[in-house]
Assembly symmetry: C2
Homo-oligomer: 400 residues x 2
Amino acid sequence: MTNQTITAPKGFQAAAVKAGLKHSGALDLGLIVADRPCTAAAVFTTNKIVSAPVVVSREHVRSGKLQAVFVNAGNSNACTGQRGFRDTLAICRQVGRALNIDPHRILVASTGIIGEFLPMEKVRSGIEAALAALRYSPQAGGNLARAILTTDTKKKTAYRKIRLGGKTVQLAGIAKGSGMIAPNMATMLAFITTDADISPALLRRSLSQSAAVTFNKVTVDNHTSTSDTAVVLASGLAGNTRITRQGTDYQKFHQALWQICDDLARQIAADGEGATCAVTVRVTEAANPREAHQAVRAIVDSPLVRCAFFGADPNWGRIVSAIGYSGARFNPDKLTCKVAGVTVFRNGRPTPFNRSQLSRKMKARQWQVHVCLGAGKYEDFCYTCDLSHGYVTINADYHT
Amino acid sequence: MTNQTITAPKGFQAAAVKAGLKHSGALDLGLIVADRPCTAAAVFTTNKIVSAPVVVSREHVRSGKLQAVFVNAGNSNACTGQRGFRDTLAICRQVGRALNIDPHRILVASTGIIGEFLPMEKVRSGIEAALAALRYSPQAGGNLARAILTTDTKKKTAYRKIRLGGKTVQLAGIAKGSGMIAPNMATMLAFITTDADISPALLRRSLSQSAAVTFNKVTVDNHTSTSDTAVVLASGLAGNTRITRQGTDYQKFHQALWQICDDLARQIAADGEGATCAVTVRVTEAANPREAHQAVRAIVDSPLVRCAFFGADPNWGRIVSAIGYSGARFNPDKLTCKVAGVTVFRNGRPTPFNRSQLSRKMKARQWQVHVCLGAGKYEDFCYTCDLSHGYVTINADYHT
């Protein structure tokens, strides 16, 4: 079995254990540990209310160096005040001491219930067990991919291999997304390992540019979590000449990292809570980038539009009217809308199409909405999913 | 039986008939006709894509004079190009000729399916029948209140009586809201009659100020329709001294008109598609009015929050995190959140409360969410409802 998990890039071990944080008793706590300090970059939620782990991790990654990642599901350690910070720092100390790593080189990511303290006894025992279970094996990497899930129905993984100056460089990623635990919010986490040798500045640049057009283009319910974290660790053990400028090697690396992020982002959208289909919404010919974004968001943030996706209903009226209130300029004589490859509205007018045939196309797992505003040359897109009974069930039928 | 319908104010007749525009065969076309030209004011959708009736009616009300209102449900005559305009004007001509009214003094409101032409033969016969059915009776007013409904489950009416300088002045209103027909969008219509004598400028002022804090505070699915219309006709037959300045009489009249609009707006929110409860969301102590609005909208536009309403789940985490990404400033040490009268988050920290007791309170038909930002002196609010399985069913389970 070829290892395509996050332990595939050279220099990474992983482990996942059942610490008793998930009510289901499934894997819920894990570690990624590098053989040596890695070049690291991370992006975090833009929510002003952030969990203690986000505050601490943001500080720790500032140096551009990390050597380990702690992650738990079941409890996000958000809105937990001073004790939340103490618990986060205690995790860093425990992991650091056991592995002889500077505690400031550890990133902590917690997802799950908000407003409850971490059960630190369970966490401490879980860390002990995880430390003992650390392996370079694909099993260890695969287990961690499962441990971070919450209401996700599928493991989310991505892998790329590139050649840089005759050396093989690997990148691997795992993610969780749009899951909920108990009375909580959707949270996205992504952990990416690579054995590339690259400067901190360029790794940061590549990650933030990639995240902007991948993770930040996913919306399931336009509710930004307090815990979103995406981090990449580069061990440098591939033996490539260190990437220190934006030349060919950087372009190749950046392309691969972007693909990893894009893979994971699409998997998150496709596995959105209750989702029966993944829909990419594209808006082209906007007057400026802001209006392209506004038009995309008006469409994907409309529950009416997303219910029509669920019903496989080629309802151009909802899409076109969303454009109408989006604030984006459009040319009324050029406004055009395609659903699942079929033009339903052309040059400002409804156009005849076979409804039942198109409805069948919308029952596919993946398809696209494309709106052309005819007002300029800018475009934007978003990965989303339909709004189904399943979404309401997951998010309402929790009874406190 | 005291007449409290839109035919109660002096000088108004109404009629509603079954023209065959609704598949259900229910009442679907109606008229309001005044004995004489009325002072009139109207507000319309802010969507850039508007129906032909909105374009025509906006022009007709510009003069400040109207004498009749035509309304139909079942077809919104939106995205119907030139023919849509011809049909709208034909309606004005037919009604005007029959009643000897200038066609420019007629307002047309159509709600229902988008992108299909009005079946003009049915409309013409319907108008004939409605003209013959015009009455000053409460039955006629009540029938019209029913004719304008689409997926609404309840008739929406409001009535006020005030005394101005020894004269009795009546105001009555009907509305429909958040209904859908076939593959369509939510639409709000409101028709208000009064026998007050008031100048066009003050009537406009009173309606636009009232709409801003009532109809414009309702959100069911943050999807602005192409057909929203609210109109008020003042016959002047109450015999009060004409209101021409912002004195006591104007204040009394404005108070009553605002109450009519507020009544109708609350009824629309409570009867939102699939709604099981009506929730008023208030944000106080914002740094400025814009941020108060942003904070309110972040809460009510979150499907996660509205699913929690449906589940009667006192999920302060979703509310507080929505504030976190709203863009509104808040004092982290003062942020406080009350749900259905119970404080669940105080001064930036979760606070203990009886979950099952609070969950029972959230099962009431009406309750409030109150968030205090502790950042200033401004406030805003919104009338909304929960996001239920019913909403998804209504908006997805239409199969083309």
